[in-house]
Symmetry: C2
Subunit: 460 residues, 2 copies
């Protein structure tokens, strides 16, 4: 036996015992050493392989510890009976993953871009460093809803900017609005139908389907989600974007807000999710207070994010739960940790409470107002074009009846301007004809002027 | 009409137009101003309220913009018909949330603590600052699976430390192992029964139930999950902790690994989740390579986290998907953003590639080895006590037949030492009698000596 023992070829940087161990384990795994067969004695293997006794001893004890061999009294080491490895050949392992594809467009007017040129790098770097240095306690596990100081700062900020009424205990911090939405969809299991705005936010549709909800698209009119269709839909949960409907850009007026609140309050277990995703930016009037602040019945879950108001890289979103859901939320999710790093939570808290967030909002707000005005003005000069939904937020619509929707998109693409067709966001409703969605936040003023000039050529 | 108009009492810091606007909106909302009634003319309200024309104009235009009033030609502004607010009174808003409760114990031997005393604060602060300063591009949205440079660093690290074979495109980065587990449970919808180790990790039980899976507890013997019970269970997915079973501390030998792989490969749509949660710390032999590295059939999802090896505050975990699941994963989840901040991803990448992570592992590994030896040695001196599962990881078991499990916990609690009963982790199996689970990582050596002395008194 020992003479037919497959000896290793040593080489490389790994310790000899490790090479020997791996060699024998592989031989057992592959069947080259059959179950029940004896390994050479330690002394014999020293001689055969030309290594020291301690090398062999270490390798054998590893093999025994891991169950490749069994130590039998007086017989030495015997190969264990391992089931053969699964038949399929190993999948080829490529050495590198493909890089993310570059944008296909010279001018990408998708709705997810933001302007990061005025991001206060030095303040953020300073704050981040302070957050690490001054808070060693933050290394330990924090509150599952997010740390109290950040939740307090958020409650105060939302009261001041958005008219949200809540205490810090109602605040839940999490890694992104989509993540928080998926928690909510898990939290309300007795409701299996969700009303979504049509046209509406694709990620909400995706999340609802993924979590097994029946999706009921409800048309959006000039004031937001249609409450009569909602009432008839049988849904117990409705997801709305009242500040700046995505993608139509409609702002829901007070009367409609009141009707939605009434819908929610008029039967048990009805809930509204108010996604206030880009409410920070409003150009033609001051921000409209949140639906949540008008809710007397405790049926509104308010959601917001810093992905647009600071940067997509800052994966911090929040939701404000009504008190009636708090206990259920805690029973369901309090075993987990908050998904946002505590250092980042503390950095954000400092950013808010030191007034840097307010300053950043004013700077970016002015920037976006200028960009929006510049871009819409240039596009409105295209004969027949109408701009809508541009009072707020980071995108708007253009309607140009001379071309079909597909033609508008294709002609823009031919000039390397990337825009989305409105139909992309439509489910059961027919999209308003000849209408496209344009985001402007991710392009510079110069790029917007160039994009507008190209679109003018494309669409004339 | 105008004479009965409820005038506001001005005060505070808010601009007058805002106070006026809020006052009238509230009056309309409450019904004090009835639908269809006319507001005073602008000029008249100026005189009545003693404010400027521009104040009134701004307030009225806000009210009109938000739908509280309608501008009627020649009639001025008329109150809109709002549905009455929902009947319930506003929930009381407490000013502060309760602080997280302090630990109930002077010595908390729970299994979730880690030692953060050797955390390299200055390196981490430097790295974090560099990550922000040197990478303005990181503000934009990154790859949904996590940024490629971090995924490459992880693939290399796992190959070197754990024998994991993967390319960076198989790596998914996310905010915590529980979060990634919940993604997996959403990814494998045709499988509705999951085999979980019994005793086992409570969060896995919670996640499986939450996502509507049928949970099949499979007993753990001295080598890990029992493969015969698994085979009979009908489950298509099994969740295991082969490196250091939670909570028994068993290391799965090669023979058992091979049988589990064989189980997974021998029918279509069978999957193993290998949670390698504290594999970084191994005291009596070198780390055993991961199950994933032995998997020829592409049926193992490997999961790991930095919560224990760095700190709970660092919310970064990862999973390695087999290639056969990659496409499905991308189709299901690629619309969302990665849940880890890109700055933190870049900080972690630098921490790994600059060799700081390896150094930190060596330092904490030595620290934990000493702590584990100190604590187990002191506890083994208690007459009748047996320590098990202490070869690796951050917790172990103590069995002491003189007392019942409940007595062991209660007597420890009476000395203010917090420990967990083994039955806490058991579902269908009877827990090994008189056995408790002790974590040691979160206490200093001095505290461990004191805790051991107290336990000696409590258990003698």
């Amino acid at each position: 036996m020992a003479d037919s023992f497959p000896l290793p070829v040593f080489g490389g940087d790994a310790p000899l015992y490790d090479q020997l161990y791996r060699h024998i384990a592989a031989a057992i795994q592959s069947g080259a050493l059959s179950p029940g067969s004896r390994l050479p004695s330690k002394r014999r293997l020293c001689a055969l392989a030309g290594v020291s006794m301690s090398t062999v001893e270490t390798a054998y004890s590893l093999l025994a510890a891991e169950g490749y061999v069994l130590a039998k009294p007086r017989s030495g080491y015997v190969c264990a009976h391992l089931l053969p490895p699964a038949p399929n050949p190993p999948a080829p392992v490529s050495e590198s993953a493909p890089a993310p594809p570059p944008s296909r467009w010279a001018y990408d007017c998708s709705t997810s871009g933001v302007d990061t040129s005025v991001f206060p790098f030095s303040s953020w770097a300073r704050i981040t460093k302070e957050a690490v240095y001054e808070n060693p306690g933050l290394l330990q596990r924090g509150h599952p809803q997010g740390d109290l100081p950040l939740r307090s700062a958020l409650a105060e900020l939302l009261a001041q900017y958005r008219g949200v009424r809540c205490s810090p205990e109602q605040v839940v911090v999490g890694a992104g609005a989509d993540y928080l939405l998926s928690l909510l969809l898990q939290l309300l299991p007795e409701q299996r139908a969700i009303a979504l705005e049509d046209p509406g936010y694709p990620a909400a549709y995706a999340a609802a389907s993924l979590h097994g909800w029946e999706v009921v698209p409800v048309p959006v009119d000039g004031e937001g989600m249609d409450p009569e269709v909602l009432e008839r839909s049988g849904a117990g949960l409705a997801y709305v974007t009242p500040s700046h409907q995505f993608p139509l850009g409609v702002t829901m007026p007070a009367g409609r807000r009141s009707r939605l609140l009434h819908w929610a309050a008029s039967a048990p277990d009805r809930w509204l999710i108010e996604d206030d995703y880009d409410s920070e930016f409003r150009y033609s009037s001051r921000p409209i207070p949140a639906l949540q602040g008008l809710d007397r019945a405790g049926r509104v879950v308010y959601m917001g994010t810093f992905s647009r108001s600071i940067a997509p890289a800052i994966r911090v979103a929040y939701m404000i739960l009504p008190r009636s859901l708090l206990e259920r939320y805690r029973a369901t999710f309090s075993h987990g940790a908050c998904t946002v790093s505590r250092f980042e939570q503390e950095s954000l808290r400092r950013f808010i409470t030191q007034g840097l967030y307010g300053r950043h909002l004013r700077r970016t707000g002015n920037l976006y107002r200028k960009k929006c005005a510049l871009f819409t003005k240039a596009l409105a000069e295209i004969p027949g074009a109408t701009v809508s939904g541009a009072d707020a937020g980071l995108h708007f619509l253009v309607t140009l009846p001379r071309f079909s929707e597909a033609e508008l998109v294709e002609r823009a693409a031919a000039k390397s301007v990337g825009i989305h067709p409105l139909s992309r966001y439509c489910h059961s409703v027919e999209p308003r004809p000849s209408t496209v969605v344009l985001g402007f936040a991710g392009l510079t003023e110069e790029e917007l002027a160039q994009a507008a000039a190209l679109l003018k050529k494309a669409w004339t």
